[in-house]
Amino acid sequence: MGGWDGLAIMIAVGVGFGAVSIFISSFIGPRNPTPEKMAPYECGMPPVGDARERQSVKFYLIAMIFLLFDIEIAFLGPWAMSIRQLGWPGFVQIVVFFLILVVGYVYVWRKGVLDWGPEHDPDYVHAPSPGPAVIKRYRYGTRN
């Protein structure tokens, strides 16, 4: 009692609470669906097409490099627990491990995987900077 079974109790409590409250509210609440209510929300306009279209490849790239770096974190847990027994040799080993990782990190950085903004996109053309006439119109309006 109070060890790992405490975790099981909390799983039961959490799942049970969530399921029961959603179940109860589906009984209590009214139920008169209309086609408009059943449609996905698109700012009051009729929905266009399906939502599950292709998304930016950036999301997939982030997921992949996350896997690589998360394995590093998984190694760090046991290392952090045993550093006092490993001593300086263990320290040097983890520094070498990090140096190898830094090579991949620099590669990913230089390839632009970590850049999401348009200024890093080679195909992006910036809007021309406004000339003095435009700035004056913006500041003082069109009447003056």
Binding site: M1, G2, I9, G14, F17, Y41, F59, A80, I83
Partner: protein, 349 residues
């Protein structure tokens, strides 16, 4: 026949009940506090009508949500649409299970052995919190995907990219604390923080070998903000861009579950920060039996900082968020970890 009902069982069941109800009441208090603090910062009054000074506003909100219609888009994936809020709220509850909120107590002599004030007393508690906290992303991603709405899907995708990016820094700062304390159990880590450095400064991990502990705490706080999807990192539900993000299509209690999960996650992240960096239940003037009062005070201060930050800072741009997480926070956390390891070995701590 009722031999199995021992004082230990009664106390344990009350602890589980306290955690269960405490998290709900804590979330309700946070909803009220959020609106009152926002009103204070923006020079408004906030809720005033329901109860004295509007303190019953969260209850009114919940009653209203229970009586609302349960809507589901026609094209949604029914099973996943229902499962997502349950996963979210369950992960939020489970993450609090291994977090202690007070010193082990005999409850004024009721028990023979002192009982720790937590639900699951496991020896790798820090790892359990880390693992369960990253389960929370499943609820958000599934909600976004199952709704079959463009805003929901974008919110879910953004949140998954954001949470896994900041999870690296979060895990590194947890590893830093494990390194300082040589333990993965919250109770052992808190017990090491009793006493004072040079008789003045509390022996908290945040003051450990200045500024290494402070940097670890800073990394943890920023990554914790991003993990709980709070401003200035609230991209999954950025209302100006995505309506309500991943819970655009949710209504009624299913919506309330996401809300509850968000506030419970805030409480969990703050409670873990209190235990790992701010000395847990240790504090002057009070005997160890009443340490939970110090714990609640520290928790309340951290939670106020959450609200303060939300209503003070504007939201980042998405490319700034990703660049900050990968190019600033991750190198800082890594260098700090190596510095802490060198410090531990050099001073033989």
């Amino acid at each position: 026949m009722f031999d199995f009902i021992t004082p230990e069982l009664i106390v344990y069941v009350s602890i589980v009940g306290t955690v269960f109800m405490g998290l709900q009441i804590g979330a309700a208090v946070m909803v009220y506090a959020e609106r009152k603090v926002a009103a204070l910062i923006q020079q408004r009054l906030g809720p005033t009508l329901v109860g004295p000074k509007g303190v019953l506003q969260p209850i009114a909100d919940i009653v209203k949500l229970v009586f609302k219609e349960d809507l589901r888009p026609k094209a949604a994936d029914a099973a996943l649409f229902l499962a997502a809020p349950v996963i979210s709220v369950a992960a939020a509850y489970i993450a609090f299970a291994p977090v202690p909120f007070g010193a082990a107590s005999t409850f004024f002599g009721l028990l023979d052995q002192p009982m720790p004030l937590l639900v699951a007393d496991v020896n790798v508690a820090v790892l359990v919190v880390f693992a369960v906290a990253s389960m929370g992303v499943y609820g958000i991603v599934l909600a976004g995907w199952a709704s079959n709405s463009k805003y929901s899907l974008l919110g879910g995708l953004r949140s998954s990219a954001q949470m896994i990016s900041y999870e690296l820094s979060y895990g590194l700062s947890l590893a830093t604390v494990i390194l300082m304390a040589n333990s993965m159990s919250f109770r052992a880590i808190v017990d090491q923080q009793a006493g004072y450095f040079f008789e003045v400064i509390p022996r908290w991990n945040v003051f450990w070998m200045f500024p290494l502990g402070l940097v670890a705490f800073g990394v943890y706080a920023i990554a914790g903000l991003a993990e709980t999807n709070r401003a200035p990192f609230d991209f999954p539900e950025a209302e100006q861009e995505l309506v309500a993000g991943y819970h655009t299509e949710y209504s009624s209690m299913a919506f309330a579950m996401f809300f509850l999960a968000e506030y419970i996650n805030m409480i969990t992240v703050s409670a873990v920060a209190t235990n790992l960096f701010l000395g847990g239940w240790h504090g002057p003037f009070l005997p160890a039996e009443y340490g939970w009062i110090w714990f609640l005070i520290k928790l309340a201060v951290l939670l106020f900082c959450y609200l303060w930050i939300r209503w003070t800072l504007p939201r980042f741009r998405y490319d700034q968020l990703m660049a900050f997480g990968w190019k600033v926070l991750l190198p800082v956390a890594t260098v700090n970890l190596i510095a802490v390891a060198a410090g531990v070995l050099y001073f033989g701590l």
